[in-house]
Amino acid sequence: MSANVRPRSGSKRVNRRLRGLLRKEWLQILRDPSSIAIAFVLPVALLLLFGYGVSLDSKHVPIGIVIEQPGAEAASLAGAFRHSDYFKPQFFDTRQEAVAALRAHRLDGIVVIPSDFAARAKGNRDAPVQVIANGVNANSARLLSGYVQGVWSTWLTRVLDARQIPMAQPVEARPRIWFNPEVRSRNYLVPGLLVVNMTLVGALLTALVFAREWERGTLEALMVTPVTLREILLGKLLPYFVLGAGGTVLSVLMAVYLFQVPLRGSLWVLAVCSTLFLLAALGMGLLISIVTRNQFVAGMVAIVATFLPAFLLSGFLFDIDSMPAPIQVITHVIAARYYVAILQTLFLAGDVWSVILPNAAALALMAAFFLGLSRRRLNKRIE
């Protein structure tokens, strides 16, 4: 069927046809509850699981303290580690035992207090304390050595104060961390997880829809009726938009009330930006299923193009500025990137227009692009 054969119709009839399609889609959704499960159960379950499960704040890290020769100095340093909330220290007499435990993954790091520690420290000679971290997870190793350093300097300041030796520290860095002073990783992970969830939901809701109708041949049956392609697209988009919006609202409520992430921006900005993002995500799903026409390929493309990029390239976990330039260019085609920037700002900082406007514009552009392309591709393939 081509555009000029299509019967011209008054707006009333368009509305009726669209209503018919919407009704059909709703019935389909209601009878096969998997769509409702995707829209409501999936985001809630994933957000619960990830909100609690994903954390970069380590506590009770197993660390080995090797005290080669017991003494007052060594005991007081060991005590400092015992009182730290970050570590769960185990004590060893020899370095070999601790190293064996490190190799067997029972420890993440070792602090070796050498046998001549007390003598050297008293004599004000250089007394090195050795720290060995398992570097396989570089980030954890860096955090571990940072925390050891922290425990160490607190202890050292106390000891030197007691002996009335001024600590030679010419410059001291005094950090002020804005928006998230207690450095709670959940505050930035939960908005990011929300984005990963909604990307998944948006793409899943629509990616399989068209592909399934192609495989079953029901789309061609629809084509020979008087409905226009635009109506078919709208008939698919609107119900899933409503479902996705419901899922988003649920997720935001959970973020604020369950995970206690502060929401400092205004609700209407959040609503507008989320609408734009959802349209982009649904549009991408529609495009995937229109182009692939095959549920296996559609499913594969959906996971390749949505979940993993939203997880790894959106700036939700990994800092985009630190990526090599070509990879940074690639991140610009990931809708999740813009939504992550908006959500992290809206939740933690407030309505910062210089962040929100460009990112919202990018989302609007992507939504228009995906929906427009879906419309075009659908047209071409029919003739």
Binding site: V54, R120, V131, W178
Partner: protein, 370 residues
Amino acid sequence: MMGARIVALFVKEMLALFKDKRSRFVVIVPPMIQLVVFGYAASYDLNHIPYAVYDQDGGSAARALLTRFEGSPTFRLTHNIQREEEIAELIDARKVLLVLQLDSRFGADLGAGRTAPLQVIIDGRNSNTAQAALDYTNRIVSGFNQDWTSARGLRGPPVRLITRAWYNPNLESQWFFVTGLVGILTLVVTMMTTAMSVAREREQGTFDQLLVTPLRPVEILIGKALPGLLIGLFEATLVVVIAVFWFQVPLQGSLIVLYTGMILFLLAAVGVGLMISSLAVTLQQALLGAFLFMVPAVILSGFATPIANMPEPVQWLTLVDPLRYYLVIVRSVFLEGAGFPLLVGQMWPLGVIAAVTLALAGWLFRHRMG
């Protein structure tokens, strides 16, 4: 007889999967591209972080400290600030991640032997990046302090800390993430191919026909599992090759250990995929099931955030995640050169998962009729 039947089924399965050009393409090409792209993207290391300087002192000591930041590959100076309000403007708009502020007494304090403060204002919207940036800042400052004290003949603290990282001396997070991606991409491809295999036949009604042939459920199971296993092996080998030759991740351990772990992991992944597939009545349900398993399996595998940070109940859940064990195996073999004795504890759970899921899948073939 049995062998011939299995071969016939195996050939049919491979044809079903690979006769379509696009199916071939999506199984092979995207995982390779993703490994390369994500291998560069996934890193907690900071590079060229934009920062601004608000130097109210302007003296030579201040300059000396700031030069160190300018020389660091971690930081990239983008703005010099003149007014206090600009700090908020730049940070709010995410133009810079941190602002270094030196007040007007900085040089005087330093010269008089008092501790001079360096204010570091950091954007905490991403708390991990903020913490890492602060860490790098502290390292630069302590380097400056050391040189300053030794140049003036002052004594530093009598005792000091020397830190070394084993297995990864330069703390390159790329090694950690590339080896992790090896596991994720293998899982995605294997799960997708197997999760579709039974459900597709159920939807088209050909599975019932398969059940009335002389093929026994065990034979159907083997015929269905083999393609997934082989594709997984092929895919895993491909990504391992890319990890070693493209990303130059050192492969310290033996290939035999790596492949033993890999085959056990693939069997577990195939088992889960087939189980989902035989539970599903339609292809859509199978896909959903695969997604529902895969997404948590990836996020809770310890790929990006340590399992030890999770609350107890979530940690129990990860015990049924094959990826969790496989990531430890891949990373230990690659970076630590671990052998069988250390990794047995990771391998037997994979064997158990594989045995249970494969048995369940075989049972479901007969007992769940669409």
